[in-house]
């Protein structure tokens, strides 16, 4: 067995699998910082995954598919934001509704579109740094041998981190999640800020779904997200709504998930149940060690109305 190649593959798949998780989780964090608890991430991911895959398959353009997934996510985010913020619907019920609707609708549309066929994307995404990947042993191929969207996704995550911390819009998002009344007294629209945040969150969720079906897996099938949306919600909270911390947690989660395969290949005598639990245990331990004074955004999940 070529151990070096196995480690490289485990690392590469772990990093790639962290992309949709990180995107969705950062999106969820943006929404939660603005006071919106969106349990519909899973459904939005599925809608982004299906629409992105469908367009990529029909057009032959993977980039267009990713863009479609993001746009569908944006529309979902807008709908979620308007219903939660303007109509004042219960955010928990609304989110669960999105998840159920996303799952059911994509399963229905998939069957209507393809029947019992399972089309796979023939195109594979360009790998811009593949030529230089072999220069660095083990991690070279794992990091530099990835598809171009891999790098774009991490740039988006970094952009979200910087935007949340250093821009006016980022400051407003944080403020409406913690002290919406204070924001309102400054003449800034709490509702509009929250709707914009929901649109950002939906866009990232849709893009996460599309990246899963187009970049990571290469096809769509009902429930292809397999619970990633819910893990993303947990990761957003455990990562204290900090995109950098969330990204690191997503990578750690992916690596520990890959470690399970590695342990099995090495024939390490551990219970398979324990192997499956590894990523969850690892992330919780990491957070217990690194987190202090964690507190929810004060207005999370609370519908805001102007006081008279």
């Amino acid at each position: 067995m070529n151990v070096e190649l196995v480690i490289t593959t485990l690392l590469a798949t772990a990093l790639l699998s962290a992309v949709p998780l990180a995107l969705a989780s950062v999106g969820e964090a943006l929404g939660e910082r603005a006071g919106l608890l969106n349990l519909g991430t899973e459904g939005m991911m599925l809608l982004g995954a299906f629409s992105g895959f469908w367009v990529a398959l029909k057009s032959g353009s993977l980039g267009l598919g990713l863009l479609t997934g993001a746009v569908i996510g944006l529309v979902c985010g807008l709908a979620f934001g308007l219903i939660a913020v303007v109509v004042g619907a219960d955010q928990v019920l609304l989110g669960l509704g999105f998840t159920l609707a996303g799952g059911g609708l994509t399963a229905f549309l998939f069957r209507e579109s393809f029947g019992s066929r399972q089309p796979l994307l023939a195109e594979s995404m360009g790998r811009p740094f593949r030529g230089v990947a072999d220069a660095v042993p083990i991690v070279g191929q794992a990091i530099l041998g990835q598809a171009w969207f891999f790098y774009l996704a991490w740039i988006i995550v970094a952009g979200a981190a910087l935007g949340l911390k250093y821009t006016t819009f980022g400051l407003r998002i944080r403020a409406v999640g913690d002290a919406p009344d204070a924001v309102d007294t400054l003449g800034i629209s709490v509702r509009a800020t929250r709707v914009y945040a929901a649109m950002c969150a939906g866009t990232l969720a849709g893009l996460a779904g599309a990246s899963l079906s187009i970049v990571e897996v290469g096809f769509f099938q009902p429930n292809v997200t397999h619970g990633i949306g819910f893990i993303a919600i947990a990761l957003a909270m455990l990562g204290r709504w900090n995109p950098t911390r969330i990204a690191l947690m997503a990578i750690l989660f992916g690596m520990l998930r890959g470690l399970g395969s590695g342990l099995q290949l090495a024939d390490v005598p551990v219970q398979s149940d324990f192997v499956q639990l590894l990523p969850y245990i690892g992330v919780v331990i990491a957070l217990v060690v690194t987190s202090r004074g964690i507190s929810l955004p004060a207005a999370l999940g609370v519908t805001w109305t102007r006081r008279k």
Binding site: T9, L120, R257
Partner: protein, 348 residues
């Protein structure tokens, strides 16, 4: 749960000699409940498609409840009963408890999978998939076809059906290539639809040198297929990996270029027998699908395979039917792992 089940079963058994439950009946509607999609080109689709075909042949209607998952399916079973089901097929070994219990409570005949202990005259029948015999043949084919000497088994769980086939495959591989390296990796517990996970794991076993992957995955099998497809891109034919599938026939899918074979399941024989028995008033038996009755068989390789290799596989099949080769029937996970270690102590 068992405490409630036992007294009811006792009452059923006492009533049976009176002929109250084993009476013949006309079968107009047969319902089937599946854990996943009826179009997953695997376990669920094969069961539904075969039942529909049997219904067309025998003249009964079919009611399908798909995507039922592995939670409590009692409300679904009740709905089916309300809709007039004469027979309910619980198409998953994961329904081993809930379906016998429901049958005992409602009196509606049910069919369970891999649970012969639940068989009750007039009320509960069981289907046993002796797929280890066909998996043995797949193992022989893999052993004769591997060029790297490393073969992988990728599973999406460890239910009895998968474990039977894992052991059968390993024994077949061992019979022709005892020095092979056999890799065994599980994607996750009940990860039957975890296509991303199946793809990641398959990429890993390919990196570990496997050139033939025996994948048991249901919907997740397409993750394995996509991993092999990407692996084979830009590789010479001699260096390409091949896939052995289970249950369904994917020779018209994108796997056709590297699909070595598949362990095909055909439930039509079992369904025909059990519906016939229900109509005749003799319901309540174990129906076995094996190589001899063609309930399980190997798909003719969609890709070119040497004639001598195929002849060896055919001869092995004849030996199994003649009883000259006995394939172990091991359904529990611990027993399966022990058997793999016994067969390939160094090669895992």
């Amino acid at each position: 749960m068992k405490k409630r089940l036992l007294p009811i079963l006792l009452i059923v058994m006492m009533l049976n000699p009176l002929g109250l439950l084993a009476a013949s009946q006309e079968v107009n509607l047969v319902s089937i409940v599946t854990p996943a999609s009826r179009t997953n080109q695997a376990w669920d689709q094969q069961g539904v498609d075969n039942l529909v075909a049997t219904g067309d042949e025998m003249g009964f209607d079919v009611d399908v409840a798909e995507n039922a998952g592995y939670e409590d399916i009692t409300p679904i079973l009740q709905d089916m009963t309300d809709d007039g089901a004469d027979l309910i097929i619980c198409h998953a070994s994961g329904y081993q408890t809930v379906c016998p219990e429901y049958a005992a409570q409602s009196g509606v005949p049910v069919v369970v999978i891999e649970n012969p202990g639940a068989v009750t005259e007039g009320l509960i029948s069981d289907i046993e998939t002796e797929a280890q015999e066909a998996a043995y043949l797949a193992g022989v084919l893999a052993g004769l076809e591997t060029t790297s000497g490393t073969v992988a088994i990728v599973v999406t769980g460890e239910p009895p059906t998968w474990n039977y086939m894992t052991v059968g495959f390993a024994e077949g591989l061992h019979s022709v290539k005892p020095d092979a390296t056999l890799l065994y990796v599980m994607v996750g517990e009940a990860a039957y639809d975890d296509a991303p996970g199946a793809k990641r794991v398959t990429e890993t076993v390919l990196a570990a040198g496997a050139d033939i992957v025996f994948g048991m995955g249901d919907g997740a099998a397409f993750g394995m297929i996509q991993a092999i497809r990407e692996f084979n891109t830009d590789r010479e034919p001699a260096d390409q990996a091949r896939f052995i599938d289970v249950i369904g026939d994917k020779s018209d899918s994108e796997a056709r270029d590297f699909l070595l074979t598949s362990v095909l399941f055909d439930y039509t024989g079992a369904y025909t027998s059990l519906v016939g028995d229900l109509e005749a008033g003799t319901f309540g038996s174990v129906y076995t699908m094996n190589v001899e009755n063609n309930g399980v068989r190997l798909l003719d390789p969609p890709i070119p395979v040497d004639k001598e290799v195929l002849q060896t596989v055919d001869e092995t099949r004849d030996s199994i039917i003649a009883g000259d080769i006995t394939v172990s029937s091991i359904g529990d996970a611990a027993g399966m792992h022990d058997r793999l270690k016994e067969l390939f102590p160094e090669g895992r």
